[in-house]
């Protein structure tokens, strides 16, 4: 048993990480599906999209060969419509609400149709937005993730000069560094960022981090500095690394953070990422699934997901769960890690407590309680995917009101500091890309009001 990289051939890596849901090959294929759409009035799909894309309209536009109009319809509600079409958990959003479900028929493939129009727009660089002349107003945005980019786009179109400060050297946020590689490629993420900024009025300053004590090569910025230079600021820095398990053995070699693991995989190339023979993944959310499936796709022999509750309570969607099952990942339900054992500083096994379900907790889900029984799993790698922790320290240092690190905002998207707004994962603690995009729009609208452009 050992942790090692370079387990597969280039072809195998490519095969394992290619797009799991390829796009419509032809306009005929897209139109056959588009023509199934009933064109519902006050459509449930639109209502179930956090950004409220006018789904029947954009689908009808595909059917009438007005693909440009279709892309525009999508982008005015969701400038990351292309990315969302690839990463949204649609079974609990638009497609889950499609009225065909009520007929026991397959829902319309809304995401795939959305991908059809938006990819065309990206590839052919359609100019669908005209930026108003510069108003001279300046807004700073922290973080070039979905929320920051969405906010920036709305503002830029209205003639605001936007500067985004991003600590990484690439844009896209978790879209670029977090989401599973078989959903989006680095090239796609880059093209999406470029498409958004091509409207003009958006400058992204990479390697610029809000906060202090920066490692070499990174430019620091502070809130007072921003307040001086800009008319308003939007905080869209997301959330940080995985919460610690707080169990013995967490420091052993072979215990890794899912977010870091996926960051490496997305950023450094598959072959360079080490993975164990026998991997345990702690958690059953989207991140856990992504860590498990991608470990398997990197060549791990056995991957086991460990979850405290049962299938009924799991936070990931059915679709994601099926991905893990199809990749050959195992799940142990009602199990909670209590200790990681090692030898010579390296992970050797994972000890878990068997759980049972007790009374419902604050989230309404029945909370797991220990049975006193334990079991041990031989593993050489443990991936922690038990939820990301907010940047609590930073937020407190900035004196921004928060709830356990999640920034508190009022109904206008404003924080307790005048002129400072926030949205996305940094506020909601970590949801989906589409929620972050909607937050960015709302933030932008609040800022436009604040700076007197609305």
């Amino acid at each position: 048993m050992a942790i090692q990289n370079n387990r597969l051939s280039t072809e195998q890596y490519e095969q394992n990480f290619r797009d799991i849901d390829p796009r419509f090959e032809s306009s005929t294929a897209a139109k056959v599906e588009a023509n199934r759409c009933l064109f519902c009035y006050d459509a449930p799909c639109t209502k179930s999209c956090p950004t409220h894309i006018d789904v029947p309209k954009f689908i009808k536009q595909i059917a009438t060969d007005n693909v440009k109009g279709s892309a525009h319809t999508i982008f005015i509600s969701n400038i990351m419509g292309a990315g969302c079409s690839k990463v949204c958990p649609v079974e609990k959003l638009c497609e889950g609400a499609c009225v065909y479900n009520l007929l026991e028929e397959e829902p319309i493939q809304i995401a795939k149709l959305q991908e059809y129009s938006t990819l065309k727009a990206l590839e052919e660089n359609w100019k669908l937005f005209e930026r108003k002349p510069s108003t001279g107003k300046k807004v700073a945005i922290i973080g070039a993730g979905p929320s920051g980019l969405s906010c920036a786009h709305v503002l830029a179109v209205e003639g605001v000069d936007v500067t985004i400060f991003e600590k990484e050297k690439k844009g896209g946020g978790l879209m670029t560094f977090g989401i599973a590689a078989y959903k989006v490629t680095p090239e796609f993420c880059e093209s999406e960022v470029n498409y958004i900024t091509s409207t003009g009025g958006i400058e992204i300053k990479y390697n610029h981090e809000l906060g202090k004590n920066l490692p070499a090569g990174r430019q620091g910025i502070t809130l007072p500095q921003l307040k001086k230079e800009f008319d308003a600021t939007y905080l869209a820095f997301g959330v940080g690394e995985t919460r610690p398990l707080k169990i013995p053995g967490e420091k052993l070699e072979g215990v890794v953070d899912a977010i870091k693991f996926i960051y490496e995989l997305r950023n450094n190339g598959y072959s360079s990422v080490p993975v164990g023979d026998k991997v345990a993944v702690i958690g059953m959310g989207m991140t856990a699934i992504d860590a498990a499936t991608q470990s398997k796709r990197l060549g791990a022999k056995e991957v086991t997901l460990i979850y405290r509750r049962t299938e009924e309570e799991m936070p990931c969607t059915e679709y994601e769960f099926n991905l893990a099952k199809l990749d050959g990942c195992e799940v142990i339900w009602l199990a909670s890690p209590i200790k990681i054992k090692g030898r010579k500083g390296k992970v050797k096994s994972l000890v878990c407590s068997r759980m049972k379900l007790g009374e419902p907790d604050a989230s309404g889900r029945r909370s797991p309680v220990g049975t006193g029984e334990t079991f041990t799993l031989d593993v050489d790698m443990v991936i922690k995917a038990t939820g990301q922790a907010p940047f609590e320290k930073l937020i407190n240092k900035l004196k921004i009101k928060n709830a356990k690190g999640k920034i508190s905002i009022d109904s206008n998207g404003a924080t307790n500091i005048k002129g400072v707004f926030a949205g996305g994962d940094a506020v909601n603690g970590g949801k989906e890309v589409v929620d972050a995009v909607e937050a960015g729009k709302n933030g932008a609208n609040a800022i436009l009001k604040y700076i007197g452009l609305r």
């Binding site: 009933l38 009035y41 459509a43």
Partner: protein, 422 residues
Amino acid sequence: MADLTCNFLGIHSPNPFWLASAPPTDKKYNVLRAFEAGWGGVVWKTLGTQVKNVSSRYSAVNYNGSKMMGFNNIELISDRPLEINLREITEVIKEFPDRAMIVSLMADNNRNAWHELIKKVEDTGAHGLELNFGCPHGMTERGMGAAVGQDPGIACMVVEWVMEAATIPVITKLTPNVHSVVPTGRSVVKAGSNALSLINTIQSVTGIDLDTFVPNPNVGGKSVFGGYCGPAVKPIALKMLATLSQDEVTNKVPISGIGGISTWKDAVEFMLLGATSVQVCTAAMKYGFRIVEDLCEGMSNWMEEKGFKTINDFIGRSVPALTHWEDLDINFHIVANIRQEKCIHCGLCHIACEDTSHQAIKLAYGDPYNTYTIIEENCVGCNLCQLVCPVDNCITMVEHRVSPEYVNWVEWQKRGLPLNDH
């Protein structure tokens, strides 16, 4: 299997499904394939003075992803030498003596030409003749086709010439490019035509290429009006057929129904409105001859369900149900009802009624599903909502008579009954 045999003026065929005079019946090769597939008869592609065709010849109207909902052509009559056609007709009749062989004709506009052509065609052993008075393009400019069918006087004259020579049954094929098919229909029946068939194609422009700005079909950058057919024309053909079935002169002769027939249901509808046989062109051109299998099986199953022994048991059966507007019962009233357990909340009924009808469907907002209910006092019973509803039997129209008595419009006016009840 029900008895599908058809006797059309003594022309027998094992079923009432004939191929209309068109490319599918253009030569021996096709017709043999059609008979092998099971078609009851053919009307051979129109013969006359040999012509030359152009390309392209066809165009179509697609609808919501469904191709060839309407079909259009600018073809002329047969472009093959007459002698070859005649020889092949003779050969096919020998190979398939049990099938109907009718030959479509369009001679030049003089008595001799018609007489000569009829003589030659009868020599093949054909069972009947169909006079093409309907082709709306190419031939009309030469005073033939629709130019004949559009003028009851000329049509009468030509039929008289034909009847002087013909010894086998004569069917006159009418053009729909008239305000009513009845005047020409009457005129040719009075002149001796033994039967009628309709419709030929309807003049049309199917569309324009939005890049080249040339209407289609495109013949080297130019186009002409074409003849429209296929599913799109069926309702028009049915109406025209019904007018012949209602008229006391034209309803004395058998009619072969044509226009947009693709399924056994379409065929049954034509027959319910008085057609003795039906002819098919576009559907065969789209799918090939194999469609005849379901035409036969579907009609047979339906006949058995309804207890009809032969096709004569139902031919013309729906004609009496067509009446004049003045005779409709004004006290008959229906009101829409939405069966909530079937509703999928698409809102199509609501928006149709709200925007374009009588604001009779109430919307109660829900997330994500709205609830839609009928406001009965606003509903005029137009049944638009039922038509747009995508779910079978979700919206039903429930009878709510205004009063038990039958009162028609004439009576209504006589009694001075109120108009503004809505």
